[in-house]
């Protein structure tokens, strides 16, 4: 599916969890869902967020892996850990700033979203982005996403760590990057974000 990109838009998410259920049906991880889903603060709002792996250009999970078990393919997709190498230590789980990897103790292995390689390699869209009723998860051409109210970004700052991802986040049109740290908004903390080690 040349040219297609993955977009996540929590503002469109209606919390139905269709993605969570559909992911279980996958051929490569039957019965296990790789979708991360959260009620943000159900007491205060119906806001929900469903998201897949962001597939970082420089994956923190891979950098933190002591067994060199996490690989990124040429297509930019970060894979589940290699079964023969993974020692089930959970370093990746702790290191990932997005909270994506999941440890399955019964398999002694970390598994995660691989953007449905089994589907995209034969011209199908990833399962979650196909079924999502509100297109909060979308796998489309950039021209199509450009018609939305929101704008796509793939640059995130976590404190001083700058992360560029394969998957895009839809943000309000005036926003350039997503910052999740209160420090970034504090006058006393003005600083220049630095990227990962060159």
């Amino acid at each position: 599916m040349y040219g297609y990109e993955f977009y996540v838009d929590p503002s469109r998410c209606i919390g139905c969890q269709s993605c969570v259920k559909a992911c279980e049906e996958c051929e490569t991880h039957r019965g296990k869902s790789m979708i991360n889903f959260d009620f943000i603060d159900r007491r205060g709002t119906t806001a929900t967020a469903a998201y897949v792996c962001w597939h970082c250009a420089e994956p923190t999970c891979a950098m933190a892996c002591p067994a060199d078990a996490i690989k990124k393919g040429e297509d930019g997709v970060v894979q589940s850990s290699l079964k023969t190498r993974c020692i089930g230590c959970s370093n990746c789980v702790l290191a990932c700033p997005f909270g994506i990897p999941k440890i399955f103790p019964e398999l002694e292995q970390m598994m995660k979203c691989d953007m449905c390689y089994d589907r995209t390699s034969i011209g199908k869209r990833p399962m979650c982005a196909t079924v999502c009723p509100s297109r909060a998860l979308a796998f489309v051409l950039p021209e199509e996403i450009a018609q939305r109210r929101e704008k796509a970004t793939n640059i995130f700052y976590f404190g001083k760590q700058k992360i560029v991802t394969r998957v895009h986040m839809m943000v309000p049109a005036e926003t350039d990057a997503v910052s999740l740290d209160v420090l970034d908004y504090m006058w006393e903390e003005a600083y220049v974000p630095v990227s990962q080690p060159e």
Binding site: C13, C16, K21, R30, T46, R125, P133, S134
Partner: protein, 745 residues
């Protein structure tokens, strides 16, 4: 006959609901193999009836694949659609007919079960008259089954009393549309939503009850469209709404009167449209004069400025759409509520054009098709009135009987249960209906069921209502018989047969034909297939409003659905009704209809000061007969919870997760509180999908809308108090071991 043979707990232990988590054979076995075929068909779990492909292998449905080419949903599915395939091979599935014994139920042969059923129906009719037998049908049935059920009631049994569970869904909207437009169908295809500049969503929890419609709303907003949401709860779509009007339960009509008041006060109505295409405007204009924003605000709890602004937004748009659903329809003035919205659309010239109009979001799978061809108590096929001599003559000719032999209109669904309770109706044959969970005032329904002299059920799982049955005829799922449905848009779709019914279960249509044979009416039911039934349905609908004559299975396949009316084989179908000012009334006009304000049938008082409203959650469908058996859907929302605002919760000392007893004038139940700021502080909400001590419908009341006979599920009065201990049902759940096989192979 009388009480169930065993306790609900024992019957549930034997017949479920048990949650199934894995496809046939488990995650890692059969379902991993390539399917023999992918069957393009539709989801059974709501009125949108999304396109879906079922993976079939060896007469078993083993999974699904999105159907991206289908133009309504482009592959999109909600969690119910994703997991719908788990029903066919479900361990609770009824594989034989069952006869009641003192020990519960025993499997029987078909001859035994059918002979018994026919004999008992005949005996009751001989003793008490033809109308002592009633039929309940379901809107989730394919149209062929619902057509056949209507004919079965009138021709094989000769009873007046047949009605269906669509009576609990949107009949008030259907009645309103007939009054205003002369026809009961959404006037527009959903693609029109994308063209609207303003969409008013009234009493419709789109995100949970019609999830795919969300994408239409979001895409409308992408082009600058404004979204106005009217609801006592901030449902998920409210987050992106341009305006949110938090209406007090049961006061929707006042809001629409107020909106029209502002439109007329400020001269925003379209005089040319009104003059050319409508009647009755002057009377309606007069009727809204007293409903100024301040008066409306006091009634509804919506700020006057919001009323002014919403009216201006709607009226000044070149193209505006009003979408509505159960929130406004489930009221004792459900018809008036819908008429209030229709009047607003007519006054602003929003009808019969692209991107303009009003539409009901029909809720049940085949909710539209299931109400068009004769299982409503007052209708004959093609949406014809049973009181109309011409319609009777037309239908009688197709059926090969004299018009006098067609019974007159009978009771509606709730009225049938009331007639059973007072002893007027003695026998009931019920298909695809779980009234113990879905009818209001569940304890009344239970008493009525105990009084039946004969109760037969046609279903594929043993519902809570079927616990009371004398005989259960093991019928078919939607994907086990070929047929058609009609979606919320009015698009007629093809339900392909994917598999045969398992075990000794049979297609429903076969069951009714065999019963008719045993009632001595075989010659009227000669069908060898549902396709033959459909051929007769086409003829029977011909010339009616819902004219299917020009629609064939093949034509549906070629066109991805055909919108009715479609009177000839070369007719393209009618996606948008009323285009160019066409109306279905004989005077050629749309009718403004005056609406009158009334209070709810169960008003709040000092003793019961809180509004109770009920509804659905995204992971469950109707009475839960099907979806409470699907593990992934059960886990997503296992038990009903009481949604309550922190302010109201604080007044009663209630914290999130506390057990709270909710009492209405009829009964009380105890549920866990879910303290959220997304509901009005004078209102609590409970979803209704569960039986017994978890049943919201133990609390609701039987007040009906006088014209449509829809119950007032959306407005009851209640009071609440902290419970001293969890209820019995919760303690029983805690005592049970975790479900086996959960999540893994």
């Amino acid at each position: 006959m009388a009480e169930p043979p065993l306790s609900p707990e024992v019957l549930t232990e034997r017949f479920g609901p048990h949650p199934a988590y894995t496809p046939p054979g488990g995650w890692l076995n059969e379902s991993r193999h390539l399917p023999d075929q992918l069957v393009k068909t539709h989801c059974c779990f709501c009125g949108q009836q999304c396109g879906i492909q079922l993976k079939v292998r060896g007469n078993r449905v083993i999974g699904f694949e999105p159907w991206e080419e289908f133009p309504f949903n482009h592959g999109m599915l909600c969690p119910k659609g994703v997991k719908r395939y788990l029903q066919g091979g479900h361990p609770d599935r009824l594989l034989d007919p069952l006869l009641r014994t003192s020990q519960g139920f025993r499997p029987a042969t078909w001859d035994e079960a059918l002979d018994f059923t026919a004999r008992r129906l005949r005996e009751v009719q001989e003793n008490y008259g033809k109308d002592s037998v009633a039929i309940y049908g379901g809107a989730s049935l394919i149209s062929e089954k619902s057509y056949l059920l209507g004919k079965f009631a009138r021709v094989a049994l000769g009873t007046r009393h047949i009605d269906y569970n669509g009576r609990l869904c949107m009949v008030s909207a259907g009645t309103a549309y007939k009054l205003a437009f002369g026809v009961d169908r959404s006037p527009l295809p959903w693609s029109d939503i994308l063209k609207a500049q303003v969409v008013l969503v009234a009493g419709a929890n789109v995100a949970e009850c019609a999830p795919i419609t969300t994408d239409y709303l979001w895409r409308c907003r992408d082009t600058g469209g404004k979204l106005i949401v009217v609801d006592p709860r901030m449902t998920p779509i409210c987050r992106n709404a341009d305006m949110y009007l938090p209406v007090r339960p049961g006061t929707d009509l006042a809001l629409y009167l107020g909106l029209l008041h502002v439109v007329l006060r400020d001269g925003l109505e379209r005089r040319d449209f009104i003059g050319k295409y409508t009647t009755g405007f002057a009377q309606v204009a007069e009727s809204v004069r007293a409903w100024d924003p301040r008066t409306v605000a006091e009634k509804t709890g919506v700020p006057p400025e919001s009323i002014e602004r919403a009216a201006h937004l709607f009226a000044k748009a070149e193209r505006a759409i009003a979408l509505h659903a159960r929130g406004v329809e489930h009221q004792s003035k459900g018809v008036e509520n819908c008429l209030g919205l229709i009047n607003l659309c007519l006054a602003t010239g929003n009808i019969g054009r692209e991107g303009a109009g009003c539409a009901m979001i029909t809720g049940q799978g085949n909710g539209q098709g299931g109400r068009e061809h004769g299982q409503k108590c007052d209708q004959l096929p093609g949406q014809r009135s049973i009181n109309d001599p011409e319609a009777r003559a037309h239908t009688a000719a197709i059926w090969g009987i004299s018009p006098d032999e067609i019974p007159q209109a009978g009771y509606s669904a709730v009225e049938i249960m009331e007639a059973i309770h007072r002893g007027e109706i003695k026998a009931l044959l019920s298909a695809c209906f779980n009234p113990l969970v879905s009818l209001p005032e569940a304890n009344f329904t239970k008493e009525a069921l105990e009084k039946l002299e004969f109760f037969g059920v046609v279903d594929f799982f043993l519902s809570e209502t079927a616990h009371f049955a004398d005989v259960v005829l093991a019928g078919s799922l939607q994907e086990e018989e070929e047929g058609i449905g009609c979606t919320a848009e009015g698009r007629v779709i093809h339900i392909r047969k994917a598999v045969d019914p398992p075990g000794n279960a049979k297609g429903d249509s076969w069951i009714y034909c065999e019963l008719a044979k045993r009632l001595g009416k075989a010659k009227y039911f000669p069908y060898q297939s549902t396709r033959e039934i459909y051929e007769e349905l086409r003829q029977a609908s011909r010339g009616g409003h819902a004219d299917y004559f020009g629609i064939t299975y093949e034509k549906i396949d070629q066109n991805m659905g055909v919108f009715w009316p479609c009177p000839t084989l070369d007719h393209p179908g009618t996606p948008r009704l009323f285009e160019d000012g066409r109306s279905f009334h004989s005077d050629g006009k749309h009718h403004f209809v005056v609406t009158e304000w009334r209070e709810s049938g169960d008003p709040v008082s000092a003793e019961f000061p809180i509004y109770l409203t009920t509804g659905r959650v995204v992971s469950q469908y109707l009475s839960g007969t099907q979806t409470r058996r699907i593990g992934g859907l059960v886990d997503q929302y296992p038990n009903p919870r009481l949604e309550i605002h922190p302010r109201l919760a604080e007044q009663h000392g209630i914290k999130d997760g506390d057990w709270v007893t909710i009492a209405s004038r009829r009964a009380e139940i105890t549920l866990q509180a879910m303290v959220v700021k997304t509901i009005r502080p004078d209102t609590v909400f409970i979803p209704y999908h569960w039986p017994g001590g978890r049943s919201a419908n133990r609390l609701t009341h039987r007040t009906l809308d006088p014209r449509s006979k829809i119950p007032e599920f959306k407005v009851s009065a209640c009071r609440i108090r902290i419970a001293s201990a969890p209820p019995d049902w919760a303690q029983a759940q805690l005592a049970k071991p975790a479900a086996p096989g959960k999540g893994t192979a």
